[in-house]
Every structure is written in C-alpha cells, then in structure tokens.
Symmetry: C2
Subunit: 252 residues, 2 copies
C-alpha cells in the first residue's frame, strides 16, 4: 500500500469519526457537510473525494455499528423461538444506548439513502432471519411447508418499517419494540406447530397488552391537550373508546 493510501484511509476514519461525533452532538439538523469538514479538519471537497456524498458517509457510520450487532447476535444462545424475540430485544437495547445517534443516522440515511442503504440494512438481516427460521423449522417448532424467503422478507420488512417509524419520531422506542414483537408473533402464529403454538400465542398476548397500555396513555394525553382536526380526533377517539371499553370489560 503506497504511503498516501494510508494517509487517505486515515482521513476517511477521521471523517467518519467526526461524523459520528457531530451526529451525536448536534443531531440530524445540525449536521451539514460544511460543519463536518471543519470538524474533521479537512476542506469541504475532501469528503466528496473520499466518499462521494453525504449519505455514503452516514452509511459508513451505521456500518460499524451494524457489524458489532451482527457479532453479538452470532454469540446468542436460546430456544429456537425465543431467539427470534431476543434478536428484536437486542436491537432495541443497541438503540437504547445511544438513541439520538441512531435516530439521527437512520433518519438521515433513509431520507434519500437510496437502494444501497435498504440493501445494506435489509440484506444481512434477511439472511439472519432466514437462518433463524430454518433452525426453528428443523426443530419442529414451525411448519415446514412455508417458503422461508417469503416469510423472512415479510418479517424483515415489518421490522424495518417500525425502526423507520421510530427514527422519524412517530414511535417511542418501547412501542417500536412492542409493535415489532407483535407483528413477529402474529406471523409466527400463522406457521406455528402444535408444539410451539402456546408459547407464541402467549408472546402475542403479551405484546398486545403492552401496546394497549401505550395507546391508552398516549391517546388520553393527546385528546387532553390539543386542538385537533376532526379527522384526527375521530381516529384517536375511536382508538380510545375501543381501548377503554376493553379495559372496562377486563376489569368487570
């Protein structure tokens, strides 16, 4: 490797490090290429020479963390069904450690991160889920007559959509986690075997109760404090009434 190459990769690292620090400190709005260049001690043209675009830099920031996550997943041991839910919980824990950083990076990268981003995030995840599902199937815990590709894609996409909703500020981290686990459990119920059905149904019920708690709290708060347009109010009130009825039924 010629010597300027090492200087170049050093600069690359500096820029990615500066990007991570800046993202953590200033969030998605305080992050501009001009500030980043200044922060990294290079000219504005350099990041473009080395990475090509802003999104490429943010992808690089994400990539390191994704790798750490992958290795953590690889070391995990649990029952073939539990491992699926543990995967979701681990992701939630990773996000919980530095929520601002992850939210900013994921939101920024998804804004127009294009297909590469989608693929970088979904690809490995999809392979992972496919493996996990195959193992559960071999253990006799899931029906064998289901296409693992179709199922893994569905589950992966559901996760991804919820993560995005969280990153864009539409969901708390806890509700994101609850929704993902609910959707996962729901899909798994569809392909459960007699041996696993009770376990998965119980997971589904737990996630359902968790979500209901969130909604009850959130909706009551929103109905209290704001003037809302009528359509919004209708949706919220509908949810609220439903949930309150259900609470009454349950306590009766």
């Amino acid at each position: 490797m010629p010597s300027w190459e090492t200087a170049k990769s050093q600069r690359r690292d500096d820029i990615v490090a500066a990007a991570r620090a800046l993202m953590r400190r200033s969030g998605v709005d305080g992050f501009s290429m001009r500030v980043l260049a200044e922060e990294a001690g290079v000219s504005i043209a350099t990041p473009y020479n080395l990475f090509g675009s802003k999104q490429a830099i943010l992808l690089e920031v994400l990539a390191a963390d994704l790798k750490a996550y992958e290795t953590a997943l690889a070391e995990m041991h649990a029952d073939e069904i539990e491992v699926l839910f543990r995967t979701v919980e681990m992701m939630t824990e990773v996000f919980a450690e530095e929520p601002d950083l992850y939210r900013s990076v994921i939101a920024a990268v998804s804004r127009d991160g294009g297909p590469e981003f989608r693929f970088m995030v979904s690809g490995p995840r999809y392979l992972l889920w496919k493996r996990l599902l195959r193992e559960a199937t071999e253990a006799g815990l899931l029906r064998a007559d289901v296409d693992p590709d179709a199922f893994a894609i569905t589950v992966t996409q559901h996760m991804f959509a919820n993560v995005l909703d969280w990153a864009l500020g539409n969901l708390s981290l806890a509700e994101m986690s609850g929704r993902i686990r609910y959707g996962l459990a729901l899909s798994l119920v569809a392909i459960a075997t007699p041996r696993s059905r009770a376990q998965i149904e119980s997971r589904l019920k737990n996630a359902e109760i968790l979500l209901q708690q969130f909604w009850r709290a959130a909706l009551a708060a929103r109905l209290k404090d704001g003037p809302l347009d009528t359509e919004t109010r209708a949706v919220l009130a509908d949810q609220l009434i439903h949930i309150e009825n259900r609470s009454l039924e349950e306590s009766a």
Copy 2:
C-alpha cells in the same frame, strides 16, 4: 366569500393542477418550486403564501386521488374475507393507471413529508381496515379475541411499507401487490377460524407462488448481467439456490 378569496382558491387549484401535470411529465427530479411557479403562471413566492411548503402542495395532489379511492372502496361488495384482498387489488389498479405520477408523488412526499403525511395516508386506511376486520369477525370468519387496533395497525403498516418500496423503485407494482397480499394472508391465517382457514391458506399459497415466480426471474437476471459485491451475491445466490431447489422438488 370576498371576491379575492375566490381568486385565491382559483390560484390554489391552478397550482395543484400544475403540480400534478409537472409531476406526471417530469417525475420527481424535474419537479422544483421554481419550475412549478413558472408552470402555474405565478411567482415563486405565491405557492409559499398559499400552501406553506413544497410537501404541502404534494400532499394536496395526493389528497384528491385518495378521496376518489375511498369512495370507490365504499361501494365495494364481497365476502368479508375477499373484500380485504379486493382492497389491495383496487389500490394496485389505481397505481397502475398512472404509475409515474403516483410513484413520483409518493416518493417525494415520503422523502420528508413528515408525520402529517404518514397520518393522512395511514389514518383513513387504518380506520377502513379496522372496520373491515370487525365485519369479518362478526361474520365469524376471524377470531374474536384479537385486538382490532393492533391487528389493523400491523396490516396497515405492512401495506404502507410495501407501497413505499414500490414508489422508491425497489419493487415492481406486481411484486408489491403480491407481497402485500402475502403478508395480509399470513396475518389472517394467525387469526382465522375453522370456517375461513382453508380460504385464507389458499390465498397465502397463491401469493407465495406468485412471489417465487418473480424472484426466480429477477434473480436469474441479476446474477447474469452484473458484477456484484460479494455480500449482495451471497444474498441473491442464496435466494436463487433455494428457489431452484424448490422448483426441482416440485417438478419431481
């Protein structure tokens, strides 16, 4: 209504019409506020006075079509389970009529359409699905012990995620439709009653076969023509091998 108000709403209509025409003609990239203003015969400041932002204008473009879709849905009659799938098919048909327009608008609006967009699209859809699911439940075709909110949100989000994937160019319209129907059928299997199980399982199988056909064609094509990075190749090859094995098994 004072006379300048009518002139104002006339201008609003002109701008929305120009936005729709421009979007249809030039797509998401050729659409800039300066071009739009020129096209509509107003100054650049006027759209901002009347709508506030670019995304608000695009939301307006979408809103009209959404309303037409809603009314078409309201007139639909079918078996309580079939109606769920018909809803997806109707959406697909709407998109198929003017794919460029819808792709552009949805992609543009989702780029940073913010929460209002999410809500405008998801809100009515969520209410619709909740109603449809309630009717199916009352007809004894779905289990009654499932939270309709949680279920409707899950289904709605799954639809939305796939529509977005289509709008961003990651999916053909037909595959989008197939994926949505697969995910819908999968979720419904989980809450099917004995009366509806066979019908839904058959839907699931159909969607599965459709998706497999897409993948077989698409993956073979991609493996042929491009240099791919190793990770991508691994994902694709894995899918391809799986599907080809399955084809062999089936033909055997």
